[in-house]
């Protein structure tokens, strides 16, 4: 070997580089302040439009949210200084928009109760604010406890066991409760909890950890068939198990949305891990088989499809909800009715599954598109994190979390706008429901932890520092 410059072998010393890598925390702060202003604007707007006066606790609520979001921001500055600056403001804005809409629907219920001279139901916005506070605390706790996302890989199989147990826990007699035909809640004393929300985080960790180890055999060993590499029979095992679990969720819990999300997540991660298109074909084929089986075997699946194809025949009974949602969106039009000035309360379950319909009515296509763009930014930042991070487990984990948010959004908004049959899933960050909110904030915390790793200037163990920049 002839090396003109006989420089020593790899330098391991970590020279303090002169290049300043911006950590963009001030961008995050600025956007967070703007998000706070928009959220408080929405709150004021709702009350001004419905009640004609500013809420008495306006400043107090403002102070609470300033404290919560400010606390989260300061925690990020210390715990993950190089984390992505766009995730926290986007999540905070969506969360506050959801709260404003829940408040708006509370007011509508209150007024209806006054007119009917019955006792008003207790407002839902107060528990939801409590859940938001809890979620933000958990967000900070995760950033504090999980210093390095790669440690999560050690818990791959623990996560699988816990995730599947949680997913199936509503089936345990005495623990599970059936709400609106779907059996996906567990009740512990006064607290009810939707375990599938937590399960989606645990199973994402499991899928990522599992595929990092097995992807080579899943990607390389295959036979050529019809221009596609077809994997060996025994390598098909994992995808069949994932499909089976999804079908079990569909059969026993009658939860179409969750089943769809888990199977979709697994197929996407399999594709990303192996870079083989054949997995998408196989996954798509299994999905079609599952969908056809579901259609013929279960009345509730068949009903959803019929209502989707022929909404107006069912507009007064089974299709009432989706028909009202479409009326609402049409009423909103291009610019919306304005917050507090539409009739989103006519849609059943406007606070949970149909919150996007309520926002679409009152903010119009203009506002709806803004919300979708914010989700798009969030997902893009997740995928960008996956590209930038240096270890394969982190890549898969980030893709997994971004996919969960994206899939869930597609299934919900597709259902609400009648693009696809309606399946009950919560809209991330917007919908009423504590378990979903907490789980989504936890995912943002993990994504920020991974992006901190990806963007921090001192490379980690995979790639050693290469000395001073020239």
């Amino acid at each position: 070997m002839s090396a003109p410059t006989a420089a020593p072998q790899p330098t391991t010393e970590t020279d303090d580089t002169n290049v300043h890598v911006p950590n963009r925390r001030n961008v995050e702060l600025g956007l967070l302040i703007l998000a706070l202003i928009i959220g408080m604007f929405a709150y004021a707007n709702v009350d001004l439009a419905v009640l004609g006066e500013l809420p008495a606790n306006f400043l107090a609520v403002g102070a609470i949210f300033t404290l919560l979001l400010g606390g989260a921001h300061v925690a990020v500055r210390y715990l993950a200084p190089y984390a992505d600056p766009f995730l926290l403001p986007a999540a905070a804005l969506l969360n506050m928009l959801g709260l404003a809409m829940i408040r708006r629907l509370d007011l509508a219920e209150q007024q209806r109760a006054e007119r009917a001279e019955i006792k008003a139901p207790s407002p839902d916005v107060i528990p939801q604010v409590t859940w938001t506070a809890l979620a933000l605390v958990l967000f900070v706790v995760i950033l504090f406890v999980v210093h390095d996302h790669r440690r999560l890989q050690k818990y791959t199989y623990t996560c699988m066991v816990l995730g599947v147990l949680l997913l199936l826990s509503p089936l345990i007699p005495g623990l599970g409760t059936t709400v609106n035909g779907a059996n996906l809640w567990i009740r512990l004393g006064p607290l009810s909890f939707q375990p599938s929300e937590l399960a989606k985080i645990l199973l994402t960790i499991f899928f990522a950890g599992y595929l990092v180890i097995t992807r080579d055999s899943l990607a390389l060993v295959r036979r050529k068939f019809l221009g596609l590499g077809i994997p060996r029979g025994r390598d098909l095992g994992p995808i069949l198990v994932a499909w089976g679990v999804s079908m079990a969720v569909l059969v026993f819990q009658r939860d179409l949305g969750t089943a769809l999300m888990f199977f979709g997540l697994f197929v996407v991660l399999l594709y990303v891990a192996t870079q083989r298109r054949s997995w998408l074909v196989i996954g798509g084929g299994l999905f079609v088989i599952g969908a056809v089986l579901g259609y013929f075997a279960f009345g509730h699946v068949r009903l959803r499809v019929q209502v989707w194809l022929d909404t107006w025949t069912y507009a007064n009974d089974q299709g009432y909800q989706i028909a009202q949602s479409l009326f609402g969106l049409a009423n909103g039009g291009l610019l919306g009715t304005g917050l507090g000035q539409g009739y989103p309360q006519f849609v059943p379950f406007a606070k949970t599954d149909f919150i996007t319909a309520a926002l679409g009515e009152e903010l119009g296509v203009t506002g709806f598109m803004a919300i979708l763009t914010i989700y798009g930014i969030m997902i893009e930042r997740g995928l960008r994190t996956a590209i930038a991070v240096r270890d394969p487990f982190g890549k898969l984990l980030a893709v997994g979390f971004a996919t969960v948010i994206g899939l869930q959004l597609f299934v919900v908004i597709g259902g609400v706008t009648r693009l696809i049959p309606l399946t009950g899933l919560t809209t991330p960050f917007l919908s009423y429901g504590g378990s979903a909110l907490v789980a989504n904030w936890m995912m943002i915390a993990f994504l920020m932890r991974i992006s901190d790793r990806a963007r921090s200037p001192l490379p980690d163990g995979t790639v050693d520092a290469s000395g001073r920049l020239s």
């Binding site: 790899p10 703007l34 203009t366 960008r384 394969p392 490379p459 290469s466």
Partner: protein, 153 residues
């Protein structure tokens, strides 16, 4: 509240919402140009483009454009960079087609030279297997196993 005030609030809210979106997007674009790993990974690997004239720009980064480490950015110093599967390399590639000590890059007079250090499958620049120390131009694809590298500014 008067009708006019409510209409103003309605438009004001939509404007503010889009303000957030537009500010985020513009900050995001600036973020793409910032010299961090996310930024450089964003530039897609384009094939067939002319490599910039040597001497004009000084490569500062070694970017992985293909393979399992795709998007990884290694800031270059003056020290040589070794590539291979063994953990004592500067850049450890997780690639079944790479050797444990595969290739070495070193700098001389502001240019980067690559040489193969006895790999099984060879080190390639474009379609040519290198046989001795070879000048690596910025933008030229350097292939080690199934991983492709490129020098970038």
């Amino acid at each position: 509240m008067s009708e006019l005030a409510l209409t103003l609030l309605r438009f004001g809210f939509l404007a503010l919402l889009w303000c957030f979106v537009l500010i985020t997007v513009s900050a995001l674009r600036r973020d793409l140009q910032a010299p961090d790993s996310a930024a450089i990974a964003a530039a897609p690997a384009r094939t067939g483009r002319k490599p910039p004239r040597p001497g004009r720009i000084r490569p500062r980064n070694l970017v992985v454009t293909e393979g399992s480490l795709m998007g990884t950015v290694l800031p270059l110093g003056s020290a040589p960079v070794t590539i291979g599967r063994a953990s004592d390399n500067t850049l450890v590639v997780d690639d079944d087609y790479a050797s444990s000590h595969h290739a070495r890059l070193y700098q001389t007079e502001g240019r980067w030279i690559v040489e193969d250090v006895g790999s099984t499958n060879g080190t390639w620049i474009d379609r040519n297997r290198i046989t001795g120390p070879t000048l690596l131009e910025p933008g030229a694809p350097l292939r080690v196993g199934r991983t492709v590298f490129e020098l970038r500014k």
